[in-house]
Amino acid sequence: MTTLLQTLEALERRPMRTFLTALGTALGIATIVALLAVSGGAQASASKFLNLGSSDLGLFQRDAADPTTSVLPLALVSELRHTRGIQAATPLVLLVGAVHRAPGAIAFGAYPDSFVTDRYVFLAGRMFTGDRQVAVGSGLAAQLHLQVGDTLTIAHHRLSVSGIYHMGVPEQDDGAVIAFGLAQKLAGKEGEATTVAVSLAPTVSRSEGIKTISRRFPGLLILGDGVNAPRTGVSGVLLSRLALVLAVIALVIGGVGVMNTMLMSVLERRTEFALLAAVGWSGPQIAMRVMAEGILTSIIGAGLGLLLGVVGAQLLVGLLGASEYVAPNVTAWDLGQALLVGVLLGVLGGMYPAWRAARLSPAKVLAER
């Protein structure tokens, strides 16, 4: 207790150094929090791209960086149609960042008579016909104050709003649907699709369907609604790996930052520790003092870093207009984890400097001028 109070006092009397040390820690923690938040957000939002019925599956390219960059050959569609247990298959193109004035909206390219578009419920107007029309989701319509007959520009193409639909699925209600061929052209994906939606025959169970498809088309990532399919699909294979990489990078950057800060603050004060040794402080006593300061500083730093990280991640994602895909979703557990990591880094980062401080030869250091 006495040590703690003394340590606090000592920190308080060196406000500038304490602040800088804490800031060093804070930047490390902020990096960790921001990257974790963004990657966690990406993970959480990945399975929202498609609304699929309980007997439907979405097929993506397995090694795509994220679902919107998936590329599948159109030939796959007819092959799927001739696969036993599959009732219908229809290709879709996802256009990201193409909707004028709504950078987060996704434009879906689809055939207007497919089983996917059949399910659209129109609040006003009807499904598009031809390449000059667009059907707009209720969320996007509200955001841009669109009504039937208005104009919406997608990838520099002026389209007339044919109808406004509501699906109850955020990604689609906040987006728009256009003709498949037009979307292909706008996306530069002639002969290709982003994803293929598949409807299973009523006689086939979902797990049977997944098994059949994955056996015949091993390069596909199969997403479904509910059960474990979406998780083991997008999050398991693509994004959690990405998130893991980001988290490791963040930990290394943050950890090195914290350790470096601690080491510098000890090296800078070698005379002080040599003096303590000279007046009878034992190695462990000096090490304890360094550790106590390190832990306190990193707690302060971790708090600051949490704030910087959360706010910074929100700002960054907002600035980049990527909020639809990687909405930072930071939970109390994330914060707790980050704080824990901060303190752990403080302890670990303080250990080597403390050991160094305790081993300084007082004769050498004190004789320097």
């Binding site: 003394q6 002080e272 003096l275 303590l276 007046v279 009878g280 034992s282 006593q285 007082p362 001028r369």
Partner: protein, 249 residues
């Protein structure tokens, strides 16, 4: 508390291959106040650091009472309980007040808080700086800082006080006050005191002068005009030629 007896025998210290102290032998009786004089670079700091357990000799023996200082593997207790060191640069911690600086050795010794405060204040009173107890070193004069450093050296109630050019950066008046303070400390506590300095004024306060030239230590008289480097080296146990006169001349 009685002062320590210090016996040094054939002490040698080489630093980076250079012999800095060569075959040094001398004896200091308990309670003696001794000057260690010599030009800069002659080895004064090196010798005091060896005596204080801050450094280890290349060869030779240092006995302080019955402690074999040259062989101490863990000198912490020796530094804490036997020696008080006053450094050439005061080495006060800038973030601590005068009183907290004086308390530092007692923190290491686990002296209870209240007793620590009390003793620190007594010591500050003894060096005439009780009124500056709450001041930070940056607001003190050079002389005041050295007196705080002396109070800190006294905190462990040492039997042996080693002062390494404590007046190096002080003016004549402040220097004289430091000598008087150290002399009165010896009188009050009976500690053995060895002071390295090249201030000639120190010789009026001590009863013995060890001279050091290029790492060689020899006995030299107290005559302030004497500066003959060829005086003979004293025998390691040279009887008892010192009368214990009061320090203040």
């Amino acid at each position: 508390m009685p002062g320590s007896k210090v016996e040094v025998e054939e002490l040698t210290r080489a630093l980076d291959g250079k012999v800095v102290l060569r075959d040094v032998s001398f004896l200091i009786e308990p309670g003696e106040l001794v000057a260690l004089t010599g030009p800069s670079g002659s080895g004064k700091t090196t010798l005091l650091q060896l005596l204080g357990g801050l450094d280890r000799p290349t060869s030779g023996r240092i006995m302080v009472d019955d402690i074999a200082v040259h062989a101490l593997r863990h000198p912490t207790r020796y530094r804490r309980e036997v020696v008080g060191f006053v450094f050439q640069l005061h080495h006060l911690l800038p973030a601590l007040t005068a009183q907290e600086n004086v308390e530092l050795p007692m923190v290491a010794a686990h002296v209870p808080r209240r007793e620590r405060h009390e003793r620190a204040r007594e010591l500050l009173d003894e060096v005439g700086l009780l009124s500056r107890a709450a001041s930070l070193p940056s607001s003190l004069s050079g002389g005041e800082r050295q007196r705080i450093a002396i109070a800190r050296a006294l905190a462990g109630q040492p039997r042996l006080i080693l002062a390494d050019e404590p007046t190096g950066s002080l003016d004549a008046l402040a220097t004289e006050r430091i000598w008087e303070l150290l002399a009165s400390v010896r009188q009050r506590h009976g500690s053995t005191i060895l002071i390295a300095s090249h201030d000639r004024g120190l010789l009026q306060h001590v009863e013995r002068n060890l001279a050091i030239r290029e790492g060689v230590v020899f006995e030299q008289g107290l005559d302030a005009n004497q500066s003959d480097p060829d005086a003979e080296t004293p025998p390691p146990s040279g009887g008892d030629p010192h009368d214990h006169a009061p320090a203040n001349a």
